[in-house]
Subunit: 423 residues, 2 copies
């Protein structure tokens, strides 16, 4: 299964082969060694702040030169304070429970064989991301904690920052006595490097694309390396006939407007016809007050003449990630479920209801990573779920579904122990 | 996510869309309904034995007409006794624990939200197989038990048998009040139908190829539907310096020769140099007696002049599935591990040793689905592991690794319950 790095002429495959060799050395090391490297990383990030800030200044200057908006430049910017916060996040990862070695299942078989299924690192994890440079450190820390080597592929707009950060990480890892190649940047710019990474089956164990829908679709379509699909969130809030109206308003506004740019924000509200007369006018008032534009069906348009833009199928399908929401009145709960099943990306759907039967039916019929009952969609998050960290939110069904913490960065193996047992 | 079957002009995609709709109806049904359908299937298989045997006779006649070997024709043949045994297997599946609804993780979060992660069916499972027609019933029974719709794609040599079996299954399912479309044969013959199935992302949740290495490689390379890779087994037995020689002989012969045609049979034996002088002559005697041809390195050739064929890199890489074994002497345990890591398919590796330190190091360093200590490689099997059933043996790291039982045919979802909680 492993291949020597010498045999790979492509820089990307050679990088992956080195990661594979480093992963084999890393996997059997005990927690203290991995935690030691993480603490060394945290210290080095603080000690080498000037170097990181200087590299980051190149990226931000370039971004401004090509007319990037100030809000995007701000997301790209690393300050000494932000670097200190990133280092603190790494120290927090040190405190999390070690997933490696956990006995998932164990028994003595009828013939006396002892069977144990234990958690082991996945091996080499590739992360393709478009986000802020802090993801570089976060992802590396979570992979290292779970015993994995990591291949990092950030956006070209953060290239200098990521290069500086990875140099700091590698030096710290090597200083702590671990192979530096457990953390590597994927070499080269442009799409070709990503394409090679996606074909590195046998060298890379899993690819996790984090970012826009088009990046994720490309990776899912083209990769022969197994992929965990993350993050697309066309989330729904269903206000049942038996909802408490004040609770529904509060959950709706929180789900939509508390932070509209994230994947667990709501994009469509569905309202049971039996409560529409009472709910729609108050919802329109609350949403408008929160700065939200409603794209509604005929019932919503009638409830707010001039306030509601007409909704089309495109609205049901759209993840706005903005102060916009699609809105529809449905005859009953089953119609709400049918609408959700047709249009959802499978991330998070909420129901607001006082009816136990409605809550039960909704949670049974809705097939998404998370179903929230009388709670905001915004809770679907590794931090909120108490996982202590999150490498992404899987919207696929295989391997991991929903917020992914450290255990989701592991596989398992079986150990069978006997005294000369044969069949 | 779902699409109506009407919108799919291709027969394969229309079949998958119908399976998706049926899966949505099946998923929330309680165990009693699924078990009732399984019992109806078992009864129907017995009641309609004549019909099945008649269809099977078409397949066997065709096979003989094209000169298929009698051993392969035997594998294809269904007799009343074999059909009764298949029906009994279905009744056994009824008795297995229901994976659906199991609470995998649960806690009350600091803010009072109740968090539950529960097992749910995967949805639509596609199985592509080359094996005997009994797989048609086995796979359907396991998928139905775990709440999944199944798309079956058997070998063209069993087409008439599979068509008859699926008709019996569908009638029984419908008679039990469940949608017949939870069990379907993929329409059409030839590779095109398989290719369409592999591109049915969004309609099919997972593809499980069972069969030869070339089939599995094709599906892994070309499928955009998530795949679980199964079954390739280049398994190793390492005889450590501290091995009991009688135990090592017994494990070696059992691993290789008890049933050489299966994936958990051993294909290479590695022997520590420190025990080679004592072990090799006795191993050659025992293997030869069992009808096994040894393909050895220089040390093995020297130990058995004229008895041992010279081994090349191709032998280390080969899954013989026959009465052949590759054989090598290694300087120490770490060299054995390095050989295994280089050549293994990651299925099962055994160590025979009296040394606790050696056993511990081998289990830590070997990265395969199963590591056997003082036990035959032949135990890697869902039945042997006590899972009660097996849909295949995954040799990949994502989602499932090793023998896959009913839980491996499920995903999970989170249920978050509050009293109007917002962030």
């Amino acid at each position: 299964m492993t291949s020597s790095s010498a045999s790979h002429s492509s820089p990307v495959l050679a990088t992956a082969a080195r990661a594979r060799e480093a992963a084999a050395l890393l996997a059997p090391l005990p927690r203290t060694d991995r935690d030691g490297a993480l603490l060394a990383i945290a210290d080095a990030l603080v000690a080498r702040t000037d170097e990181i800030v200087a590299a980051n200044a190149e990226d931000t200057a370039k971004a401004r030169a090509v007319g990037t908006s100030e809000s995007l430049v701000d997301r790209l910017t690393l300050t000494p304070e932000r670097i200190a916060a990133i280092a603190d996040d790494v120290r927090h990862v040190v405190t999390l429970p070690d997933p490696v070695g956990e006995v998932v299942r164990g028994s003595t078989l009828p013939n006396g064989l002892d069977l144990r299924q234990i958690r082991v690192p996945l091996g080499v994890v590739g992360i393709i991301y478009e986000a802020r440079p802090n993801v570089t450190v976060d992802a590396a820390a979570l992979c290292l904690k779970s015993g994995n080597a990591v291949l990092l592929r950030g956006s070209s707009s953060a290239y200098a920052s990521n290069t500086a950060l990875v140099m700091v990480l590698r030096d710290a890892v090597a200083g702590a006595g671990l192979p530096a190649d457990v953390v590597q940047l994927v070499p080269g710019e442009g799409r070709d490097a990503v394409r090679e990474l996606m074909r590195a089956r046998g060298l890379v164990d899993v690819l996790i694309p984090r970012g826009g829908a088009s990046l994720i679709r490309t990776v899912v379509e083209e990769s022969t390396v197994p992929v965990i699909e993350t993050g697309t969130g066309n989330c729904h809030v269903y206000v049942d006939e038996a909802a408490d109206i004040d609770m529904a308003l509060s959950i709706l506004v929180n789900s939509k407007a508390q932070r509209p740019s994230v994947c667990n924000a709501a994009e469509t509200v569905l309202v049971h016809a039996g409560i529409a007369d009472a709910f729609l006018p108050r919802a329109l008032e609350a949403l408008t007050q929160a700065g939200v534009i409603v794209h509604g069906d005929a019932a919503w348009q009638q409830a707010g003449p001039g306030l509601v833009a007409p909704a089309t199928d495109e609205d049901w399908a759209t993840e706005y990630l903005s102060y916009d929401i699609a809105a529809v009145v449905v005859p009953d709960l089953d119609a709400a479920v049918a609408h959700i099943r047709r249009w959802t990306s499978g991330h998070t759907e909420a129901i607001v209801t006082g009816s136990q039967a409605a809550a039960r039916r909704f949670t049974q019929l809705v097939d998404s990573t998370t179903v929230a009952v009388n709670a905001s969609t915004r809770f679907t998050d590794g931090g909120q779920f108490g996982f202590g960290a999150e490498i992404g939110i899987s919207t696929q069904k295989l391997h991991a579904r929903g917020p992914m913490g450290l255990p989701e960065l592991t596989s398992t193996k079986y150990i069978v122990t006997g005294d000369g047992h044969t069949r």
